[in-house]
């Protein structure tokens, strides 16, 4: 898609229509709602600890965010690493969705 002649402006119609459709659809059907247990449950946590190690640099990328940014996608699961002391891990999750 070229932004040369401002032709991208022609996307305004379809984009606007699609955005409005989904916004209203969700307003009626509320498919995006669920219990926000992350913020509505009583949680007591110790201060977060951790390490930050510089491992490299990126030069001249056009991407505005890191690839695969999931800092705020709390519910997007990533690879589960076996834990040392309890042995609970992936193979325990047989019917997570039933």
């Amino acid at each position: 898609m070229s932004d040369e002649n401002g032709l991208w402006l022609l996307l305004a119609g379809p984009a606007g229509a699609t955005a409005l459709y989904w916004a209203l659809y969700r307003y009626y059907r509320n498919t995006d709602k669920s219990h926000a247990f992350e913020r509505e449950t009583t949680i007591e946590a110790t201060p977060v600890t951790g390490t930050d190690t510089k491992v490299g640099t990126v030069k001249g990328t056009q991407a505005t965010r890191i690839r695969g940014d999931n800092l705020r996608d709390y519910r997007a699961r990533v690879r589960r690493v076996e834990s040392a002391d309890t042995g609970t891990a992936q193979d325990d999750r047989r019917d997570a969705h039933d």
Partner: protein, 438 residues
């Protein structure tokens, strides 16, 4: 004219993608599109006030079954709007014992070890019958209660009311019950208000048949879980170091330089009273197949106020039976604990202004405590006909807090028409702008 399969549906979204219950839900009162930019009628609907409480008595409640501790009468009711039981004969009122205090459920989460199970949360006996029979002490007749959908029944002959108050090993009797506080008229008003805010594009048949008085009070089965866990995550984060543009006027592009870090975070935490649906049907949040996410959304409840199981609280309400055991629910618990951990560490990674990509996560569950509980929900349902048996839409009201959420079926062609109209206007503006530029 209202052919349900007229307009082609828009692209389907994955079950666990954006816009599904796997997505972190939006903050209350937020809209993806600024209402101020929308046509008047749509804006008015979006900006109408949310449901408010109207407190009036319910006619739903019938006689209870316990004996009054003062006079021995069996005519006992739940006093609407409270957690009290009241004797209809001598007006004696008493409060159910709060499980929090009786069993110490609120204490010791920070030292939980292993899996602690309350008696009502024990595994369901697979061969236990759903039908239970009682001999009426009033007249001697046999009275049968189907524990699949009810915990109380009335003798046809002498109107004596029975309730299942003893814990039988078929999983029918939970540890605790949280009585309804929101009365029926209040729930009806909230449902009506919820739908009034969603009329423009609602399915015509839904509007025609809309009768919020048909709402029913249901006790739904949940496992209330306390947990103590540790979690760790690892991945990469980027911090912007430089931003610059290259190219000529018409072809400018922005470039970024960034430092890349390997990031690790750990957190220990406890969770108090996390509610998990313990019926397989309710726990299925597949938005393509059902609207159970609506019922899930009205969580949480003030479970600290739950009282020790007493079937008297259930008279006049229906109930659903638990059919999931702890081991079925453990994967869901771990999933939610991981999500909680990820939310907890977010704040510690703010310096990564280009974001963080978590790649590994680890969870150690040190201890859990499980209590089986009935929670009060007012449910209005509407069955939308369609392929694969159609779709059952719910509007649900939390029987304690009054939080209301619903799924209103949409008239697709109307919604598409509105979207296309707005799109056409935008397109006209875009073309006009291009013509001026040329």
């Amino acid at each position: 004219m209202s052919d349900p399969k007229l307009p082609p549906p828009l692209p389907a979204r994955p079950v666990d993608g954006p816009g599904s219950p796997r997505d972190v839900p939006p903050l209350p009162g937020t809209h993806p599109i600024d209402p101020a930019t929308l046509p008047g009628a749509i804006r008015d609907e979006l900006e109408a006030p949310d449901p408010v409480a109207i407190d009036t008595a319910s006619a739903e409640l019938r006689d209870g079954i316990n004996r009054c501790p003062k006079c021995g009468s069996t005519d006992i009711r739940h006093k609407p709007g409270t957690d009290l039981l009241v004797c209809q004969y001598c007006r004696n009122e008493w409060h159910g014992e709060r499980v929090e205090e009786v069993f110490g459920f609120g204490e010791g989460i920070d030292t939980l070890t292993g899996t602690v199970v309350a008696s009502g949360a024990r595994d369901i006996a697979a061969d236990a019958a759903a039908l239970m029979s009682f001999k009426c002490s009033g007249c001697g007749a046999e009275v049968t209660i189907n524990t699949e959908n009810a915990m109380t029944a009335r003798c046809h002959w002498c109107r004596h009311v029975f309730g299942i108050n003893e814990q039988v090993p078929n999983g029918a009797v939970p540890d605790a019950v949280l009585p309804f506080h929101i009365k029926k008229d209040d729930a009806v008003a909230r449902i009506r208000q919820f739908v009034d805010k969603r009329r423009l594009f609602a399915l015509k048949a839904f509007k025609d048949q809309f009768k919020p008085e048909n709402v029913i009070g249901v006790y739904l089965p949940y496992m209330i879980v306390d947990a103590r866990a540790s979690a760790a995550v690892a991945g990469e984060g980027e911090i912007e170091t430089r931003r610059y543009t290259r190219g000529t006027d018409n072809n400018k592009k922005t470039y970024y330089d960034a430092d890349v870090y390997h990031v690790e975070r750990q957190v220990d935490f406890t969770v108090d009273d996390l509610p998990l649906e313990s019926s397989a049907e309710r726990g299925n949040l597949d938005i393509q197949a059902n609207t159970n996410n609506i019922i899930n959304t009205i969580l949480p409840f003030d479970t600290k106020n739950a009282v020790r199981w007493n079937a008297s609280y259930l008279s006049g309400f229906s109930s659903e039976k638990r059919n999931r055991n702890i081991e079925h629910l453990r994967p869901r618990l771990e999933d939610q604990l991981l999500s909680i951990a990820r939310a907890q560490v977010e704040g510690s990674a703010r310096r990564y202004d280009r974001g963080v990509r978590w790649e590994h996560e680890r969870l150690d569950v040190h201890g859990t405590r499980w209590v089986s509980m009935y929670l009060p929900v007012w449910l209005y349902s509407y069955h939308q006909p369609g392929k694969n048996g159609g779709l059952l839409h719910y509007i649900a009201v939390n029987g304690r807090t009054g939080e209301t959420m619903g799924s209103v079926p949409v008239q697709q062609w109307k919604l598409l028409l509105a979207a296309l109209t707005v799109g056409t206007i935008l397109e006209g503006l875009a073309i006009a702008a291009l013509v001026t530029m040329a």
